[in-house]
């Protein structure tokens, strides 16, 4: 295992990909705690599809992909937030519509112009090879910003996650914090999308926290465990992907499924023991 890791680290492009992947996984798993507990999991999924549409258009129009995708995703995240708050339209149905729509528009734009090339394929299913040096530095910088902001907002994110109506009633600007959460999630989704693919990026947000919740019972412990699970899942996933020459995104998700099952069994055993 150590030997394989060392061998992987001897390739500069893999080192770059692992750096970016680790940071993005950390961001996703930490934001995921709030998103999942606020019942916003679907927003992550919606964002990845909007991100795909934006990246497809950027690649056709020859714009740097991140400079278009990040603002578009942030705008979409505000829209998705509004949709999920609205009681008049069914929020979940509206999100599903928006995400399918964005995906379809992306596919149409590409197939009518350049045709389905490897770039587009990579955005769909993820590839570590698609990461240029400039992209990597930008991704690393942005994920560090997300991590720092997450840490600084931690008490506030807890409050609006646990009980938004209480926070709002006691004078906390909950809308601003929801918007901050959506913005951070958008940046994370776009950064992680090239590695994980539009179809799998939301699993980085959802799996680690659900796995951590099998065992953790306090917010801080769930947050820290979620981060640890994300890092472990990412490293093991990359090793699996390297050894079996499998796509990185799918490998990471499969490792996360195994981790989830292990934690679920451990949690069940612990509950059975403590009840006796």
């Amino acid at each position: 295992m150590i030997n394989i890791l060392l061998e992987m680290l001897s390739y500069p492009f893999l080192v770059r990909a692992i750096m970016v992947g680790l940071l993005v996984s950390l961001c996703a798993s930490l934001l995921g705690v709030s998103l999942v507990l606020k019942r916003f999991s679907m927003i992550g999924d919606g964002l990845s599809h909007v991100g795909f549409g934006a990246l497809a258009i950027a690649s056709v129009a020859n714009i740097a992909p991140l400079t278009l995708a990040i603002p578009v995703c942030i705008a979409a995240s505000f829209l998705l937030l509004r949709m999920s708050e609205s009681t008049r339209i069914k929020g979940d149905a509206a999100i599903a519509m928006l995400s399918a729509g964005a995906l379809a528009i992306g596919v149409m734009v590409v197939s009518m112009t350049t045709g389905m090339n490897t770039d587009v394929y990579n955005y769909m299913f993820g590839s570590i090879l698609s990461l240029s040096k400039a992209d990597a530095s930008l991704s690393i910088a942005l994920s560090i910003v997300v991590l720092v902001l997450f840490a600084l907002f931690y008490p506030r994110l807890f409050a609006v996650t646990f009980d938004e109506s209480f926070s709002r009633a006691t004078g906390i600007p909950t809308r601003a914090y929801n918007a901050a959460l959506a913005t951070l999630a958008s940046v994370t989704v776009v950064l992680g999308m090239r590695m994980m693919g539009a179809l799998l990026i939301s699993s980085l947000i959802i799996f680690p926290v659900l796995t951590a919740m099998r065992v953790g019972k306090r917010y801080l412990s769930v947050t820290l465990l979620s981060a640890a699970v994300a890092v472990l899942g990412f490293v093991l996933g990359m090793v699996v992907s390297y050894v079996y020459e499998a796509p990185s995104g799918a490998s990471i998700v499969c490792v996360n499924i195994v981790l989830f099952l292990i934690f679920a069994i451990a949690g069940a055993i612990r509950n059975a023991i403590t009840k006796k």
């Binding site: 506030r156 109506s165 209480f166 009633a169 004078g171 769930v222």
Partner: protein
């Protein structure tokens, strides 16, 4: 001047008027119980008092320097809180957030305040217990502590005993009364149970899409409307 003065206020919900002709005051140290059937406008009025909903008619005036940050709130419990991973201490600490200003993290002052409030509701031995593993009564106590951590001025309690068994409900009433009497915290409690209003609170506001009664609990017990809703009770 009163803490809160409501003059001729009316509220709409989804374009329809749900409650109107509201005229009452909340004084410092009051224990006011708002009663009425489901759909009588209680929840809408609460939103108005919390500043989450503006009256479409009339006025709500805060006096004595009262601000939104000095109103603590015990909301009805939500489904999503049932499986939420958080300890009692984490929950109560989040109540002190409004005193944080621009500082990113809780200081010793907030942590001490949280522990004081946990102790006040008798939950100190359970401070590290996960919220979701508490009984219904204990959860309500923890949420009451959180509201107290936010403010010592005015607490709005939305159906605080609706999901509790009789023993836990009696405990909760006792605790609320104690907080009101010994610590001078103004209480506004919403309930669908007129008996609770008549025997626990000092003042009663009875709603049925308009104000049916507003006055002292003693007067409520003697009034026509009070007698009707309290049944054959003659206390």
């Amino acid at each position: 001047m009163s803490l809160i003065q409501i003059q001729n206020a009316a509220f709409r919900y989804d374009g329809k008027e749900v409650v109107s002709e509201l005229n009452f005051t909340i004084e410092r140290g009051d224990y006011l119980c708002i009663v009425g059937e489901n759909g009588s406008g209680k929840s809408t009025l609460i939103k108005g008092l919390l500043g989450l909903k503006a009256p479409h008619n009339g006025t709500i005036t805060f006096g004595e320097g009262l601000t939104a940050r000095q109103i603590g709130y015990l909301p009805q419990q939500k489904e999503s809180q049932r499986d939420f991973p958080a300890s009692v201490q984490e929950v109560v600490l989040s109540g002190t957030l409004n005193s944080l200003g621009f500082r990113p993290f809780y200081t010793r002052r907030q942590k001490k305040n949280a522990l004081t409030q946990i102790d006040r509701v008798g939950m100190l031995p359970l401070k590290n217990t996960p919220f979701r593993e508490l009984s219904g009564g204990q959860q309500q106590r923890a949420l009451l502590a959180r509201a107290l951590a936010a403010t010592q001025t005015l607490l709005i309690l939305d159906e605080p005993i609706s999901s509790l068994d009789p023993v836990a409900a009696a405990d909760m009433y006792h605790l609320i009364e104690e907080i009101n009497r010994n610590h001078g915290v103004t209480i506004v409690m919403v309930s669908h149970d007129p008996h609770a209003a008549a025997h626990e609170a000092g003042k009663v506001l009875h709603l049925e899409n308009r104000q049916l009664f507003s006055g002292s609990a003693a007067a409520y017990r003697k009034s026509e409307i009070g007698k009707r809703f309290l049944g054959g009770e003659s206390r």
